[in-house]
């Protein structure tokens, strides 16, 4: 599974990244976590507001930081 956290480096993006990490640890998943800060990649996914979470090429959330439980639902 490939998980991408998109954000130019704002505090909310870091919060999303740490939430995702916790979710991965809790579920004991084998997943590849990538941080994307290149804005042209955002456009490719059609993402306008950061931070955003993309799981296996599908945009799950954009523009807000979801809670850990919400992230777990998408990773299962």
């Amino acid at each position: 599974m490939k998980i991408e956290v998109l954000g130019p480096g704002c505090p909310r993006c870091k919060l999303l990244e740490s939430n995702v990490k916790k979710a991965i640890e809790d579920l004991k998943l084998k997943a590849e976590l990538v941080k994307v800060s290149d804005i042209s990649r955002f456009v490719e996914y059609g993402i306008m507001s950061s931070p955003a979470l993309v799981v296996d090429g599908k945009v799950k959330v954009s523009g807000r930081v979801p809670e850990i439980d919400e992230i777990k639902k998408w990773l299962k």
Partner: protein, 386 residues
């Protein structure tokens, strides 16, 4: 203990504010007695002392009364309305004229810093409504928002604040249309943008009342009315607001609102405190006469220098207000002051580099050129008018 630690970690900005006010309260009442103000001035030096005094002045009660409701409004807009409601108008499916207006005014309701504006810009340009509207948003986004408007009005003057708002909304549209016209031959790819719709449980009359009371709180907190009437009005509006929040909003919505408000506050307050202090300290070191020679009169050159300074110097959101206030105290004329306030949030070297990488040097130069020309002229004419 863990709950307490978590609470502190999330809400540390509240403690920061609390201690700042405690120290200022003690200072103003000279508690301790032995630390006389003259002695403090001698120990820390005149410039640092001046920085401290401007901080005390800034964190006064009337600033708090307008900032706190503004933070809650910004938080509510972000968490309860959601950016999606506004962004869907910019995704390319709306009428062009409406999209321009939404992009120019929407910045007022979207809390955008330079860090969130760039993905927005790139998305709207490449896959949404096009270059012109993206430029409009790029210009209007960082300069207009509830908090900056209130702060500018409170510290520099309401006439000034409203003219600044008027100028930046109209310039946003003018520059957007100009660039759309200039580069009309270039095509952009069409595509779908991800827009998250909000799912607010408030609807109809309830929703109208909720927002009406929230904005009344801001207006009453800021309005120049006698303080005893003001405190009563603020307290009663706040009570109604709290009651509505607990009766009508779902628990998740309340948490989301609180979290957004706290996040917004912790993004801005520490930098603002530092900015006010440093601005007060350093402007005290600037020789007044030389400063007035450059910026004391409303000339085209003075306006140009003010815009240039705004472009070179980079200050975090909202810190441009104390900087401008200090310039005003040093004797800057109203025209250059307006030019500076219009240019500073929009132009920065770092921003220009990133934009140029995205849209190319030619478009970037046209954009920056039109911003410079319009802001210099606006400052000049505003200075002649007042």
């Amino acid at each position: 203990m863990k709950v307490l630690a978590d609470f502190f970690k999330k809400n540390w900005v509240l403690f920061l504010l609390f201690f700042s006010y405690l120290i200022i309260f003690l200072w103003q009442r000279q508690i301790g007695g032995f630390l006389s103000q003259e002695l403090v001035q001698k120990i820390i030096g005149e410039s640092v002392y001046n920085g401290w005094l401007s901080l005390v002045d800034y964190l006064s009660a009337h600033v708090l009364m307008c900032l706190v409701p503004a933070f809650f409004i910004a938080g509510a807009i972000n968490s309860l309305i959601g950016t999606g409601t506004i962004l869907k108008y910019l995704s390319g499916k709306t009428k062009k004229w409406l999209a321009y207006i939404i992009a120019a005014v929407g910045g007022f309701f979207l809390e955008v810093c330079s860090c969130t504006i760039l993905p927005l810009f790139a998305g709207i340009w490449k896959k949404g409504a096009g270059l012109g509207i993206a430029i409009t948003l790029l210009y209007a986004g960082p300069s207009n928002n509830v908090v900056t408007l209130m702060m500018t009005g409170q510290r520099i003057g309401w006439q000034f604040a409203f003219f600044r708002l008027f100028f930046s909304i109209s310039f946003a549209i003018i520059i957007g249309l100009f660039m759309e016209f200039l580069f009309r031959k270039e095509r952009y790819e069409k595509g779908d943008l991800v827009v998250e719709e909000s799912k607010l449980s408030l609807k109809g009359v309830k929703s109208k009342m909720f927002w009406a009371v929230l904005f009344s709180l801001l207006i009453v907190g800021t309005a120049p009315i006698p303080s005893n009437i003001k405190y009563i009005a603020v307290a009663s509006f706040a009570t109604v607001q709290i009651a509505m929040t607990f009766l009508w909003l779902k628990k998740e919505e309340r948490t989301a609102w609180w979290n957004e408000t706290i996040r917004f506050t912790s993004d801005i307050i520490p930098l603002l405190i530092l900015g006010v202090f440093l601005a007060g300290t350093f402007t005290h070191m600037i020789p007044k006469e030389q400063f007035q020679k450059i910026a004391g009169k409303n000339t085209l050159l003075a306006n140009f220098v003010a815009v240039g300074f705004g472009a070179i110097a980079y200050f975090p959101a909202l810190v441009e207000v104390p900087i401008a206030e200090n310039f005003m105290k040093l004797g800057m004329s109203q025209g250059p002051l307006m030019a500076y306030m219009l240019a500073d949030p929009v132009l920065s070297l770092q921003g220009m580099l990133i934009i140029s990488k995205m849209i190319g040097k030619k478009k970037m130069l046209v954009y920056v050129g039109s911003v410079v020309v319009l802001t210099v002229l606006a400052g000049y004419f505003y200075g002649m008018m007042v």
